[in-house]
C-alpha cells in the first residue's frame, strides 16, 4: 500500500481495534509497521526514536519507543497503560488501543477492549499459545469484541513453516471452542519483515488468506453492529428560558446520544422510570432540525407533550422497553488495588444513571487461564467474577452480549471517587 498522498474520497467510517497478547510477542513492531506503512510515523518522530535507540546502544531502531509514551514505561521497557494511536489509509480511519501484555495490567487490557470492535491477538510462532493468549482471548470474548484476529507472528524465526502455523491454529481453535469464540481468523506474519501485514511478502506462498491490512479494511465499522432497540439515555436537559426570545420560552430539549437503534420524528416514545409516553416532535443537532437520528449520533429530542424527564432517565420506543432491574447478575472485573468489600455500598454508573449498589453474593471467581470457577469471599485487582448486585433504584438494562451500551456499568468508590470495577450484565 502506498502512503496517503491525497485526501480520502471514500469514507468507510472508523474502526477501533486493540492489539494484545503476551510480552515481547511483537505488538509494538506490528503497530510500528502499520503506522510506518500508512505514513503515520513522521520523519521527526522517527529521528527521535533513532536517537534514543542509539543512546541505549541498540543496533536497530526500537519501535516500542513509539508506543511507550510514559517515562516509567521507557525506564522499564514495558507498557503500563493503554496508548491510543491513529492512522488512516485513505478510505478508513483507525484508532488503535495498544494494551499492555503483563498480567498485572489486565485491567488496562479490559479498558482498551471496552471500546474496540476488533482485537488482534499476537502469538509468538516459536512459543505457541501462552497463558496471556488464553487470558486475553477470554477477556476479548467476555467484553464482546465481535472480531478476533490471531496473528501468528515471528514466522521469520521458524523458517516460515506452514506446519508450525497450522499447529498453533489448531491449538487455538480447540481453545476457542471451549470459550465460545466464533469469529476468529488466523494470519501467519512477520511484523519485523513486513510479511502479511500490509504487503504479502514472498515467503509464505502457502497462505492464501487476506493480509492484516485487508482484514482491517474490510471489517465492519465500529458502529455498524448495533442492536435495533432504541436506547437514549438522557445526558442533559436544555431549557433556555430566554425571556428575550419568546420562541424559546417553552423549549425543552432532551440531550443525549442514540446508544442503539434509531429514532424518527413522529415515533412513539416512553421515558423511564416515569413510564410517561409521547411522540417525537423534532430532532435537532445544535439547533438544526433533522428527520431521523441513527446509532451513536448525539442529538436533542423534543416531544409533543410535556413529560417529566431528567438526566439519568432512559428514553425508549414505547414498544421496545427494557427491563427495570433492582437486582443484577454481572461479570465484574475488579480494577482497584483495594479489594472489593462486600460490606460496603458502592456507586454504580449505568449509562447516565447512578445508583447505590451492594454486593449480594459473589457467585464464583473465574480463573481466566483455566476457565475454572471457584468460590471467593472478595475480589482482588484483576479478578474476574460473576457477582450478584443489589441496587437502591432500578436501572434500565439489556444483557451485555446483546447491547454493549446498556449492558455495561462501572463501579465507583465514593471515598476516592475512583473507578474500581467494570461490569457486564449477564
Amino acid at each position: 500500500m502506498s502512503a496517503l498522498e491525497h485526501l480520502p474520497d471514500t469514507d468507510n467510517g472508523l474502526l477501533r481495534f486493540l492489539t494484545c497478547g503476551s510480552v515481547d510477542d511483537g505488538k509494538s513492531t506490528l503497530i510500528g509497521r502499520l503506522l510506518f506503512d500508512s505514513k503515520t510515523i513522521l520523519a521527526d518522530t522517527m529521528n527521535a526514536i533513532e536517537k534514543t535507540s542509539a543512546k541505549r546502544g541498540l543496533t536497530a531502531v526500537d519501535l516500542s519507543l513509539l508506543t511507550d509514551g510514559l517515562q516509567a514505561e521507557r525506564e522499564q521497557g514495558i507498557t503500563i497503560d493503554v496508548a491510543y494511536r491513529y492512522f488512516t489509509t485513505g478510505t478508513r480511519k483507525y484508532i488503535i488501543a495498544d494494551a499492555p501484555g503483563h498480567e498485572q495490567y489486565t485491567r488496562n487490557m479490559v479498558t482498551a477492549a471496552s471500546t474496540a470492535n476488533l482485537a488482534i491477538i499476537l502469538v509468538d510462532a516459536r512459543k505457541g499459545m501462552l497463558t496471556q493468549t488464553r487470558r486475553h482471548s477470554t477477556l476479548a470474548k467476555m467484553v464482546g469484541i465481535p472480531h478476533l484476529v490471531v496473528a501468528i507472528n515471528k514466522m521469520d524465526l521458524v523458517d516460515y513453516d506452514q506446519a508450525t502455523f497450522e499447529s498453533i491454529r489448531n491449538d487455538y481453535l480447540a481453545f476457542a471452542e471451549k470459550v465460545g469464540i466464533k469469529d476468529v481468523r488466523f494470519i501467519p506474519m512477520s511484523a519485523l519483515n513486513g510479511d502479511m501485514v500490509v504487503e504479502r511478502g514472498d515467503r509464505m506462498g502457502w497462505y492464501e488468506g487476506p493480509t492484516m491490512m485487508q482484514i482491517l479494511e474490510s471489517a465492519p465499522a465500529a458502529h455498524t453492529e448495533k442492536p435495533e432497540d432504541f436506547r437514549f439515555p438522557v445526558q442533559y436537559v436544555c431549557r433556555p428560558r430566554d425571556s428575550a426570545n419568546p420562541e424559546l420560552h417553552d423549549y425543552r430539549g432532551f440531550m443525549g446520544r442514540v446508544e442503539s437503534g434509531e429514532i424518527a420524528v413522529g415515533d412513539a416514545v416512553t421515558t423511564l422510570p416515569s413510564g410517561q409516553s409521547s411522540r417525537v416532535k423534532a430532532i435537532e443537532i445544535g439547533g438544526q432540525r433533522i428527520d431521523k437520528a441513527i446509532h451513536e449520533q448525539s442529538v436533542t429530542l423534543l416531544f409533543e407533550d410535556e413529560i417529566d424527564t431528567s438526566r439519568g432517565d432512559m428514553i425508549v420506543k414505547s414498544a421496545e422497553a427494557p427491563a427495570a432491574l433492582k437486582q443484577i447478575d454481572a461479570d465484574v472485573c475488579w480494577l482497584s488495588e483495594t479489594a472489593l468489600s462486600p460490606a460496603r455500598t458502592y456507586l454504580l454508573r449505568h449509562t447516565t444513571r447512578e445508583v447505590k449498589a451492594k454486593v449480594a453474593r459473589i457467585e464464583y471467581r473465574l480463573d481466566v487461564n483455566t476457565l475454572d470457577t471457584g468460590d471467593a469471599a472478595t475480589l482482588e485487582m484483576n479478578d474476574i467474577a460473576r457477582v450478584s448486585l443489589k441496587l437502591a433504584q432500578p436501572i434500565f438494562a439489556d444483557p451485555y452480549q446483546r447491547n454493549r451500551a446498556t449492558g455495561a456499568f462501572i463501579i465507583i468508590d465514593e471515598s476516592t471517587n475512583n473507578t474500581v470495577g467494570a461490569g457486564m450484565i449477564a
Binding site: L4, G69, D81, Y84, Y86, E296, E320, I410
Partner: protein, 304 residues
C-alpha cells in the same frame, strides 16, 4: 422490531458525536466547568462542538483564556471577536498578574512563558472554584497525551499521575471530584491534525489569519523558523529572511514556530497536512524538544 436501515456515520460525524457526548457528560456531571479557549484551531473546533451540544441554550460553562502576554495579536483579536459573536462569557486571566503577585518568577525576562501557564491556570481554577476544565488537547499531538484519559483526574495541586489514572471503560466517564480537585476533559482526544482541518473545512470555521500562508521575517534555527518579533528580535549574527509561512499550531510567540508554506486556503492546508513528513509539534514547538518527557513533566505540574 423495525428493520434496521444500514446507515452509518462518516468518521468525522462519529468524532463529532463523540465530542458532543463528552461535553454533555461534563455538563451533566460537573457543577462548575469551564471551557479553555485560546483562539487556536483546536479550540475553534471545540466552540463549534459546544454549539452543537447545547444550542439553542447557552453554554453551561464560561470560556477562559490563560493569556501569557506573548500571544500573537491576531489571535487575541480573534478570541475576543468569537466570544462576542457567540454571546458567551469570556474570562481572561493573565500571567502578568501572577508575576505581579509573585507566584510566577521568571529566570530571565525573555524566558518562554508557556510552562508557567500552569500556575495561572491553577490560580484561576481556585479563584472560580472550577471542577472541570474542558480542553482541546489531542492524543495524536504527543506521546504523553496519547496516554491520557478523556476525563483526566487532577489532584488539589493540579497534578496528573500518569501511573495511576482512573480506568476509563466504554463511554462511561467518571468526572467525580472532591473539593479542590478537578478534571481535565478532552472531547477531541481521538481527533488527529487532519481531522481538525477536515472539520474546519466542513463546518466552514473561521480562524486567525496567521494559520494561512503569509510573508513574515524569520531566522533559521536548525530546522525551525523563528519568527522575528519585538519579543524575539534577531541577534546581530542572525540572517533575517522574509519567508512565506503559516502556523500549524498557535501558542506563545517565544516558543511557537511557523512552517514554510504557500498554503493560503483550507484546501491547500488539507493537502499539505495529508502529505507532511513532520509532526505538528515537531515542526513548531521548541518546548517539546528539551527532553523526551517534557510534556509529561509539564502535565504532572498542572499543565492542561
Amino acid at each position: 422490531m423495525s428493520t434496521l436501515t444500514q446507515q452509518t456515520l462518516s468518521h468525522l460525524d462519529w468524532l463529532e458525536a463523540e465530542a458532543i457526548h463528552i461535553m454533555r457528560e461534563v455538563a451533566g456531571q460537573c457543577a462548575n466547568p469551564v471551557l479553555l479557549f485560546s483562539g487556536g484551531k483546536d479550540s475553534v473546533c471545540m466552540l463549534r462542538i459546544a454549539e452543537k451540544a447545547f444550542r439553542p441554550g447557552r453554554f453551561p460553562f464560561p470560556l477562559m483564556h490563560i493569556d501569557t502576554g506573548h500571544n500573537y495579536p491576531e489571535v487575541i483579536a480573534f478570541r475576543d471577536k468569537r466570544a462576542e459573536e457567540l454571546g458567551e462569557r469570556l474570562i481572561v486571566r493573565s500571567l502578568e498578574d501572577s508575576m505581579a503577585r509573585g507566584t510566577i518568577v521568571l529566570k530571565h525576562e525573555n524566558e518562554s512563558r508557556n510552562k508557567h501557564q500552569s500556575v495561572t491556570l491553577l490560580e484561576a481554577i481556585e479563584e472560580f472554584g472550577f471542577d472541570c476544565c474542558i480542553g482541546g488537547a489531542r492524543r495524536d499531538e504527543e506521546k504523553a497525551r496519547a496516554k491520557e484519559r478523556i476525563m483526566s483526574f487532577r489532584d488539589e495541586f493540579g497534578q496528573w499521575d500518569p501511573k495511576n489514572q482512573r480506568p476509563e471503560l466504554w463511554n462511561l466517564y467518571n468526572a467525580r471530584t472532591h473539593q479542590g480537585e478537578n478534571i481535565r476533559a478532552f472531547p477531541i482526544s481521538n481527533w488527529t491534525e487532519l481531522d481538525v482541518w477536515q472539520y474546519i473545512e466542513r463546518e466552514q470555521l473561521e480562524l486567525p489569519s496567521i494559520y494561512f500562508a503569509h510573508t513574515r521575517p524569520v531566522v533559521r534555527k536548525g530546522d525551525l523558523l523563528m519568527p522575528v518579533t519585538d519579543l524575539t528580535p534577531a541577534a546581530p549574527e542572525d540572517t533575517v529572511e522574509d519567508v512565506m509561512v503559516r502556523f500549524r499550531t498557535v501558542g506563545d510567540i517565544s516558543c511557537t514556530a511557523p512552517v514554510a508554506s504557500d498554503a493560503d486556503s483550507i484546501e491547500k492546508i488539507l493537502a499539505e497536512t495529508a502529505t507532511t513528513t513532520i509532526t505538528e509539534r515537531g515542526a513548531t514547538r521548541m518546548d517539546d524538544q528539551t527532553s523526551e518527557a517534557s510534556m509529561e513533566q509539564r502535565k504532572k505540574e498542572g499543565y492542561f
